[in-house]
């Protein structure tokens, strides 16, 4: 929960090459950093007075991560008013993430959006006007991380976490039903039946953690949505990018009814493409769901490619789309340059300054499109750090869950009564359900009633 405990985050932009800094704040900041840091000099970090730095190496369980300069600030003389440590190392995203993770492994929690500044305010380190600015910041960052969390929810990892969590809820629900309804005839729960189920969930969590660590989840890249009204050639463009038949291409409007994903490389730039259902008012239920997802996707991604049919005048759906996209990182793509031009290009470029004309069918204009995408990404703030933040928070939640399950297994193996085991299961569920936006007690109670015939 906010405001106690020690938090950590990467506090510099995640760009390759520069110096990177990780900031820790809270009562254990110095102790945590001390366990990670091997100083070159004779004095460990915990012996340093405030406002001092030391040179040395940061390390984790697997060995040395990087050279680092570490600064120690002692409460209340620090940015947040708490004990603060700043670890500066060689800035590569991979090394920074590994160092950050080492901090989490030693007991730090991922910082919430704007949390350092919040703590500074709460410790009286800032005046009223600054506090107002911080509220703005937190609220904006909250929206940003909400947007990213929404994007992450469509990912395979998130869905796997969801699956595993469901299984854990089922176990906890069985335990709860068995405890709260001792006299109903239901399948008996014993340590022998419970242990393999708990072990299996824990193994699944460990696999997810490994997946994070192997970097599968940190594929850098820009989430990109291709949007436009039906039949403007979105699927053709998608296929052009990805080089293979992925979306179904026909000329019946409304053929693409779901979000199709593909990662493509444009020079050194990786785009995570999502081709979405054509955006229009529709009475078809399945298609309407597709349209909802397209709009959701449009809100949650870092880049939008808006497609318009150059061979037709702009329709009301096009105009609505233009309004929605105003001010977002976006390239307007006018397709079908192979056909005579009808669309009002002036109107489009008024709302979306970055505009190119292509023929997806004849593969013309792709070079211009790539240049326009680069322009947008240079000008607009794409914040890969925010994406990492979301991922790190997920990972920390999974790790907390795994740790609690390990204790649950221990309790089972030692022959503790099941109420003690239940405490560990709850503790594992809490962070996992937090990712799904639920509370453990509510989810378990719900489970009891949906799967067990209990009560009189």
């Amino acid at each position: 929960m906010p405001e106690h405990g020690t938090i950590a985050a990467i506090s510099t932009p995640l760009a390759p090459g520069a110096i990177g800094m990780i900031r820790l704040s809270g009562p254990d900041a110095i102790a945590i950093a001390d366990r990670l840091f091997l100083p070159a000099g004779p004095h460990p970090l915990r012996e340093l007075p405030g406002y001092r730095g030391a040179f040395g190496h940061v390390r984790d369980g697997e060995g040395t991560i990087d050279e680092a300069v570490v600064f120690v600030y002692r409460a209340p003389k620090s940015y947040t008013g708490e004990d603060v440590v700043e670890i500066c190392c060689h800035g590569g995203p991979f090394l920074l993430q590994r160092t950050l993770r080492a901090c989490f492994a030693q007991g730090a929690a991922p910082a919430e959006p704007g949390e350092f500044t919040k703590r500074a305010v709460l410790h009286g380190k800032m005046d009223l006007t600054q506090a107002e600015a911080v509220m703005e910041l937190i609220s904006a960052q909250g929206r940003e991380s909400h947007r990213l969390a929404l994007a992450a929810k469509e990912g395979a990892t998130f869905q796997r976490i969801q699956q595993v969590t469901q299984e854990l809820v089922a176990i906890a629900g069985h335990l709860a039903a068995w405890t709260d309804y001792p006299e109903e005839d239901m399948e008996e729960l014993s340590p022998q039946t419970l242990l393999p189920r708990v072990q299996e969930v824990r193994r699944a969590l460990q696999e997810i953690l490994r997946a994070y660590d192997n970097g599968q989840i940190y594929r850098q890249g820009v989430t990109t949505a291709i949007v436009g009204r039906p039949n403007v050639g979105k699927s053709t463009l998608m296929n052009l990018f990805s080089g293979r038949e992925r979306s179904i291409v026909t000329d019946i409007p409304g053929t693409t009814r779901d979000v199709v994903e593909e990662s493509v490389r444009l020079g050194d730039l990786v785009l995570h493409l999502a081709d979405t259902a054509g955006i229009r008012e529709t009475a078809d239920l399945v298609e309407a769901m597709g349209v909802d997802r397209a709009l959701e996707r449009m809100e949650s991604c870092q880049l939008v490619l808006a497609l318009f049919d150059g061979s037709q005048p702009l329709g009301p759906e096009d105009e609505r789309l233009l309004d929605r996209l105003q001010g977002r990182p976006c390239v307007a793509v006018i397709n079908k340059s192979d056909l005579p031009s009808q669309a009002d290009e002036g109107k489009i470029s008024q709302k979306i300054p970055n505009m190119v004309t292509i023929s997806a069918l004849n593969q013309e204009g792709m070079g211009e499109l790539e240049a326009a995408i680069r322009r947008v990404l240079e000008v607009e703030q794409v914040d890969p750090q925010a994406a990492v933040l979301v991922n790190e928070r997920q990972r920390a939640c999974v790790q907390r869950g795994e740790l609690a399950l390990a204790q649950g297994e221990e309790a089972l193996a030692a022959g503790m009564t099941l109420d003690a085991v239940g405490v560990c299961l709850d503790e594992a569920l809490e962070p996992l359900l937090e990712l799904l936006g639920q509370r453990a007690t509510d989810a378990v109670v719900q489970e009891v009633f949906s799967h067990f015939c209990v009560g009189k």
Partner: protein, 632 residues
């Protein structure tokens, strides 16, 4: 015609389990109290199962007792059979339950309220509630026109409010057990802006003991030695007096039900009220779990001086003749005779989001709600809320600060927090799984958790408090002794350890370290512990649990102290959440509706994210600085 009747400090509307505790608590705290009931013969009635306690509910009864309420003592006085459920599953979920004599329970409670100083009991139907110019409760009005001026009123109307009973196609306006319903009060409440809604619940048939063939049923006896509910009841000499029995439905039973589903108002759509998930009718069970070959029925005696038996698990709203047909398909029930038919009952209750954690209405000062009226179900849930509402009404009259119980203090606190923070979409039943602090909130330590507060409030006598302090001192002393006493290694000790499946020791070990092993109990070590003092079972049980579960208890206590810090950050009542720009829209609306009293409660409101909580914290800080400046 109206007339002005006597003035009271507190009026309690309804003399069920909530109303009784409310009235007794208020009167015992020294305020002039009047308790209204539609029938004096229904005081403390148990219109459903003749039992008190059970999982989590047993915890509530012990908490009521620890705070100075009546239910525990009443159950001890009139119980017929007692069992501690979940014995093998760990101390957090040990749950006491008794079968009680329904008629005796009523008489016990009637006697208590009638003889209570400061309390008058009156048979009357309350039809109106009036407020003064400031919107405060001013008076309650009976159907015969008596206007009683009051300073506070507690609504504990149970299932009486616009009660409607369904049996097949038959629909009748009625309270429980054929009582007269309260038809007029709902309209008065609606005029005052109280958000009412319809819930429903049901009860099975009562059948004649003489018509059952017990040779075909499984017998279930009580357990001895008996643990009483009340920390004040002396357990010596308590005895079980009756047996319960178990029967099972079968395929033929389910067939009768399926063939007649269209005659059930539950499935025909005649009932609009929302029923409890945890208390399904037999037709619900058969429809929702079609693969289950049989369902259990507990056959429980209603009392010592009656032939009525309660069929737990068989609540139904099917027509009477269908009920008879389906019951008679069951082994042992071939000649069963129904004495009271099963029915579903629908009633008005309030959306508890309209209440504060004190159980006072947010918008109507001086008006409190308790029990089924607040959307719960169960005698114990009702009694617990009644006690809290009674305490707070009396304290308000006396100009004292209200009492609010945090979740981490008790199941009662959890119950109330759930109600006023999350609301409820179906009748709310207490369950151990609703508490995140189960290992701390045990039934055995309810006194340690709540008796000091009961004493402070004034419901626990000095004499009882002294006994409580003595017990706690004994526990502490014995804990220290067990932690510091070494048991020397010996062949007999190792023989015991090995026989229990745990490893032998090479050297002497602290007694506490041996007790920490799940296989070894405090009692096991008596032969190796010559210095052991004579202590009550309640004391040694406490010592054993505190040692055995120390690690897990510490884990939960850490969570408790974390939550305390959030709960210490009060949210001003007049806060306008709509004007806090940083909050997401959903959070603003939810917070505006719930109006949490502190940051901890706000964090439990659904739809409020951690980012919203941070925004609130900053906002509070900023507001504090503003006010500091204005004052300075």
């Amino acid at each position: 015609m109206e007339y002005l009747a006597q003035a009271y400090d507190v009026a309690v509307v309804g003399a069920g389990h909530a109303g009784i505790e409310a009235a007794l608590a208020a009167a015992r705290l020294g305020v002039r109290t009047v308790l209204f009931t539609i029938s004096l013969d229904s005081i403390g009635n148990m219109p459903c199962n003749p039992s008190i306690g059970g999982t989590a509910k047993g915890h509530l009864v012990r908490e009521i007792d620890a705070l100075g309420g009546e239910m525990g003592r009443a159950a001890d006085a009139v119980f017929l059979q007692s069992r501690m459920l979940n014995r093998g599953k760990g101390p957090a979920v040990h749950s006491l339950r008794v079968q009680a004599d329904r008629a005796q329970y009523h008489l016990y409670m009637k006697e208590q309220v009638e003889n209570q100083e400061n309390l008058d009991v009156k048979q009357a139907e309350i039809v109106d509630l009036r407020l003064d110019g400031q919107g405060r409760v001013q008076s309650v009005v009976t159907s015969l026109g008596a206007v009683y001026p009051v300073k506070a009123a507690i609504l504990a109307t149970g299932t009486y409010l616009r009660g409607k009973i369904f049996v097949g196609e038959s629909v009748q306006e009625s309270g429980p057990d054929g009582a007269h319903p309260a038809k007029a009060l709902s309209a008065a409440l609606e005029r005052l802006g109280v958000p009412l809604r319809r819930f429903k619940t049901g009860t099975p048939a009562r059948v004649s003991r003489r018509s059952l063939d017990f040779s075909k049923l499984e017998r279930q006896d009580g357990e001895e030695p008996i643990t009483p509910f009340s920390f004040e009841t002396d357990p010596t000499g308590l005895k079980n007096q009756v047996s319960c029995y178990i029967a099972y439905t079968n395929g033929r039973t389910h067939q009768v039900i399926r063939e007649n589903l269209h005659r059930s108002p539950l499935f025909g759509g005649a009932i609009e009220g929302v029923g409890p998930r945890y208390c399904p009718s037999i037709e619900d069970k058969v429809v929702r779990f079609p693969d289950k070959p049989r369902h259990q029925i507990f056959v429980e005696p209603m009392g010592l001086y009656t032939q009525e038996m309660y069929l737990s698990g068989m609540s139904s709203s099917l027509p009477e003749e269908v009920q008879l047909a389906l019951y008679r398909t069951i082994d042992g029930f071939e000649h069963l005779e129904i004495m009271r038919n099963a029915y579903a009952i629908e009633y008005d209750c309030v959306d508890p989001l309209a209440l504060r954690a004190t159980l006072e209405f947010k918008e109507i000062p001086g008006l409190y709600g308790a029990g089924q009226f607040n959307g719960t179900s169960g005698y114990e849930e009702a009694a617990a809320q009644g006690l809290l509402a009674g305490i707070n009404a009396a304290r308000q009259v006396r100009g004292q600060e209200p009492v609010v119980l945090e979740r981490s203090s008790s199941y009662l606190g959890t119950l109330v927090d759930d109600l006023v923070t999350k609301g409820c979409s179906d009748p709310y039943r207490m369950m151990t799984s609703r508490s995140e602090y189960r290992l701390v909130l045990r039934q055995d330590n309810a006194d340690a958790r709540l008796t000091p507060l009961g004493y402070e409030i004034g419901l626990i006598s000095q004499e009882r408090y002294d006994r409580f302090l003595q017990k706690q001192a004994e526990i502490d002393r014995e804990l220290r002794r067990v932690q510091s006493t070494t048991i020397p290694v010996s062949e007999t000790l190792n023989a015991l350890l090995v026989s229990r499946g745990t490893s032998p020791v090479a050297a002497g070990l602290k007694m506490a370290d041996l007790i920490r092993r799940p296989q070894i109990s405090y009692g096991d070590l008596a032969p190796f512990d010559p210095g052991r003092p004579a202590l009550s079972a309640a004391v040694t049980e406490e010592v054993e649990i505190q040692i055995k579960y120390e690690g897990y208890i510490k884990k939960q206590l850490a969570q408790v102290s974390l939550m305390h810090r959030l709960e210490a950050r009060a949210l001003p009542e007049e806060l306008d959440y709509r004007a806090i720009d940083g909050l997401r829209l959903e959070a603003r609306e939810k917070l505006e509706q719930v109006r949490p009293r502190n940051i901890g409660q706000a964090s439990r409101v659904s739809g409020v994210s951690p980012a919203d909580i941070n925004v609130l914290l900053i906002y509070l800080e900023q507001r504090g600085q503003h006010q500091g400046k204005e004052q300075g």
